[in-house]
Symmetry: C2
Subunit: 467 residues, 2 copies
């Protein structure tokens, strides 16, 4: 076979130099045969679109052609010609075919229209389907948008540790990390397991958040962001929970509440606009197959301003709604933590646009949030989105050492391993704040997918660590 430099399918489909002989390599999506002509739809993952390879069966070995079934991997030299068919502008008139790998007849992705549940069992092969290819390319693009946004705005990417000896925030149940021999656990006189022989010489877990370490970065480098895996050992079998997920946590020195809300809004709009600008083909596919209002919803997020709403005002609106006959599952009253139904009512029914809520009651938020002058609310800022509910949770941080200690004591938070966090308030403390974005929540929003297990390549959930 003549050696020609490979052209990716995404690039072949842009070419107009008809008559040129090009090389493509990829996996067969479909192979339709008739007496006079074979059509092979070839995909190489570079785009959701296939290139059509038109084969004159009289010029090739019949038994060879017959082997090229869905899922096979082939290498094709062909002449670029204008396409006669609808929905494509170019196709390849096949000159040579080499088979790289045939596909066993029990290929699980053979049939179209399998359920997402079915496909999760074959997470390694579902990546070759239209839907998951689209989701993964969009996921990539969202990661790139995030890095580009922060880099362009002078934030430094900061790697906070995954293995941690602190569990201060109490954000969730943790996975223990150990090299101890479980068959020979050393205990002290009181029968407590000792950890001096464990790898780190103490009990360690997987982090639930990089924020506290992120604050160390921000109070030195000015503005940082994390983008890494985070873990929760909660036994939640829901379409919204993963035991291992990716989180983005920017943290900025010298920021106040308004600047923080500006940052949150600007950042998330940038990401959504990036998808609209850079993932057109994939979004159109998902809009057609998964969620017919997807593109419209993305456009509506970037086009208008977000509502900025005090918690107290939000409660008033919800109470008004109840008075007017709206039924919520959970009762509404000042001091409560909003449930998803409340958030969605405000966003989808009342304002019909994203909401940044602030001024939450101190008691329902974390210890590190800056306390307002009223002494009972804090400068937390949650961004509430249609469909998703809370997509961002952030706050200005309490920079006053004494107030922070007061909260820690009031909540009985064990601070023995947290001396380094308090040091930031002891040595040149500064106003600062930041937020956290669950990456998969963003991907759910941008793809219109319904289950978080379908927007990460290999989901980790209770009883599932396959692949």
């Amino acid at each position: 076979m003549e050696k020609i430099k490979r052209t990716k399918v995404v690039d072949v489909l842009q070419r107009t130099d008809f008559g040129a002989v090009v090389n493509v390599k990829g996996w067969v999506r479909t192979h339709r045969s008739s007496k006079s002509v074979d059509f092979i739809a070839l995909n190489d993952g570079s785009t959701i679109k296939n290139v059509q390879v038109v084969v004159d069966p009289s010029k090739f070995d019949e038994s060879m052609l017959k082997q090229i079934t869905t899922g096979s991997c082939i290498n094709v030299n062909g002449e670029l010609v204008e396409s006669q068919g609808a929905g494509q502008t170019v196709e390849l008139q096949c000159r040579e075919i080499e088979i790289y790998g045939l596909c066993a007849s029990d290929y699980p992705m053979q049939k179209k229209g399998q359920s997402f549940e079915y496909m999760r069992q074959y997470a390694h092969l579902r990546l070759r389907t239209n839907t998951f290819g689209a989701v993964m390319r969009i996921r990539h693009n969202m990661a790139i948008a995030i890095h580009k946004y922060f880099h362009d705005h002078g934030f430094f990417y900061f790697h906070t540790p995954l293995i941690t000896a602190s569990d201060c925030e109490g954000a969730g149940q943790m996975f223990q990390v150990t090299t101890k021999n479980l068959y020979d656990l050393k205990k002290n006189d009181e029968g407590k397991i000792t950890y001096d022989d464990d790898f780190f010489g103490k009990q360690t877990s997987l982090t639930v958040s990089g924020q506290l370490e992120g604050e160390l970065g921000a109070t030195a480098l000015g503005a940082i962001y994390t983008f890494g895996p985070t873990f929760r050992a909660e036994n939640s079998n829901t379409p919204r929970h993963l035991a291992e997920f990716w989180m983005i946590e920017p943290e900025v020195a010298f920021i106040d509440l308004n600047d923080l809300m500006d940052l949150e809004e600007d950042f998330i709009k940038y990401c959504v606009q990036w998808a609209l600008d850079n993932c057109k083909d994939d979004l159109e596919f998902l809009n057609k197959m998964i969620d017919k209002t997807l593109i419209e919803r993305l456009k509506s997020v970037v086009s208008g301003s977000f509502v900025r709403l005090e918690y107290t005002e939000g409660i008033n609106i919800l109470e008004e709604a109840v008075k007017n006959g709206h039924k919520f599952e959970f009762p509404v009253s000042w001091g409560m933590d909003l449930a998803s139904e409340h958030e969605r009512y405000l966003v989808e029914e009342h304002f019909k646009k994203p909401v940044i809520m602030t001024g939450y009651p101190k008691a329902i938020k974390a210890f590190y949030m800056k306390i307002n002058e009223d002494g009972k609310t804090v400068q937390g800022t949650d961004v509430l989105f249609p469909q998703i509910g809370e997509i961002i949770g952030g706050s200005v941080r309490e920079e006053n050492y004494d107030k922070l200690i007061g909260e820690i004591n009031e909540r009985n938070i064990p601070m023995k391993d947290m001396w380094w966090y308090l040091d930031t308030r002891k040595y040149g403390s500064c106003p600062h704040g930041g937020f956290g974005l669950g990456f998969e929540r963003l991907i759910l929003f941008v793809t219109g997918m319904q289950n978080i297990r379908d927007v990460i390549p290999f989901p980790r959930t209770p009883k599932n660590a396959e692949f």
Copy 2:
């Protein structure tokens, strides 16, 4: 105090609109006082350079000024003036000062010239020093370069799982991840601990490499890269080992040995060139303070071609060196795994440039490497660098199902949890390859730092999981 929008120090130092009143916020690096004038060197992490704030002490409260010691955080409005001093072009004539946070007198980063060992104990505060600020900004830049390189070349960022139930590659000792109650470990009749009550229903660990899952991505999306944390539970207390480190693992379908070596060389040169182009101030500082040959070494890497060397030829060169009286600690013979001294001899003494070595004996390389026609060597490709030794390890992968199974059986690798990996060779197998780059190894090379614990914010090593 008048509210003026903050300008970052990195931007202030570029401004030439003398007479303008600007606002800067940051941490005091030094404060020198005399009767007639105070000089405050202020840094906000945006650059290694400080902005000099010139204070007329007669215009400010003396006791307030006195409190502003090294490490304090302040907010300054000042007039931009041309600097009289050497080494800076602008300075600020102070108009107003606000103290955000004073610095307790036991501030551990007070004195200059502390050892790196000392500073590691205060990893949360060392970030505020010149050296660690420079290292962290370069680290950020290298991450951005990596994402930009792969994005521009059509690779998709692919998140492989951290928690895994497979330990197939055997690349190193693993950390166990569990939610089991260690005080009440369930065992079966044979006394073996059972894992059906563990979070994932089986025994799980932290990954040592994302490569095998990366191959699943590449054989669907065409070209992917990972960039995430990786773990080794080896009890290695050396300047080169971390228990938790970041790794970049690109994987590409339809690549052959030469393309792979081209990719490795092009990629690493791009990263080094990015540092030279984007981290000038930080590199100049490190070149002056840490390693006087740093910039010269970086330039030499990007300027010439890497040597491409067969393993067998490399052994010949080493044997020749031994004959000519060169002393190695470890003896040289065909079949051995090269030690660092051998790699560095080839790179630093013999060729005086980076080397890509290939054609390694099968027995010293991993099971998945493509076997050459000689049946005894494989298409591994290690990139060997001055100072560092192996900076990249890669290979073309064996795509033939039967050959792969042969290697697995020959090495007695437990494949029970690896059915999904074999599926890539069963359903449309394709030629492919990739490599792994330890991120911290790259940062060591680009910064000239000597200890890997000093190029990651919070190192994880035996007996150390602080912060």
